[in-house]
């Protein structure tokens, strides 16, 4: 077993563990903000995994996908944060009545 194979196996194990832990938090998460953070972490891990795949297989096909994920990744978290804001304002208005 060469040193490259060992390193690739270690990278695969570490990324799998990281994604599974983020998924556990996304399922358990007590509030919607915890789930938003967990999905943000999972998305950045997908970005890192695509980069690792480009390094391991020595090609550039995944680089445009990385660019698109980096550009649109913010939208989900910001949308969830705005949604939470609107719901809270409605609740406080009901509390005043």
């Amino acid at each position: 077993m060469t040193i490259q194979t060992t390193l690739i196996a270690a990278i695969a194990v570490v990324f799998t563990a990281a994604a599974l832990l983020a998924l556990i938090r996304m399922i358990k998460g007590p509030s919607i903000l915890d789930r938003a953070i967990a999905s943000d972490v999972l998305l950045s891990e997908v970005l890192c995994i695509l980069g690792a795949e480009a390094v391991i297989n020595q090609h550039t096909y995944t680089l445009p996908i990385m660019l698109m994920i980096a550009g649109t990744g913010i939208l989900g978290t910001v949308a969830v944060a705005r949604f939470v804001a609107r719901r809270d304002r409605a609740q406080s208005r009901e509390g005043e009545r």
Partner: protein, 114 residues
Amino acid sequence: MTEIIALVLVLIGALLCLTASIGLLRFRDVPARLHAATKPQVLGVILIAIGIAVALHTWTAFAFLIPVVLIQLATAPISAHMVARQAYRNGSVDRHTLLVDELADDIDAQRDSG
């Protein structure tokens, strides 16, 4: 040799992702989880981008990686700031863990001034 350097850089980036996920699972409230979560979004992506640049070393890869890193540097603080602001207003922050709460003073001052 360059391949081994690139793989080691990718492995360090992967370990950063793992520490972020462990922090996400172990920490107690939203700001603490956010503190753990924003590390791989910037440092992990930068390390893996350097790894790709070392492994491929072509100008095409470099031209793709610079905007990826710049966009991550620009957008990670925006989403983290919005989530933290909503967590504060929502009451998801554990008040006993805060040593200094300057935002509460500011909100009180704004309310008093009308």
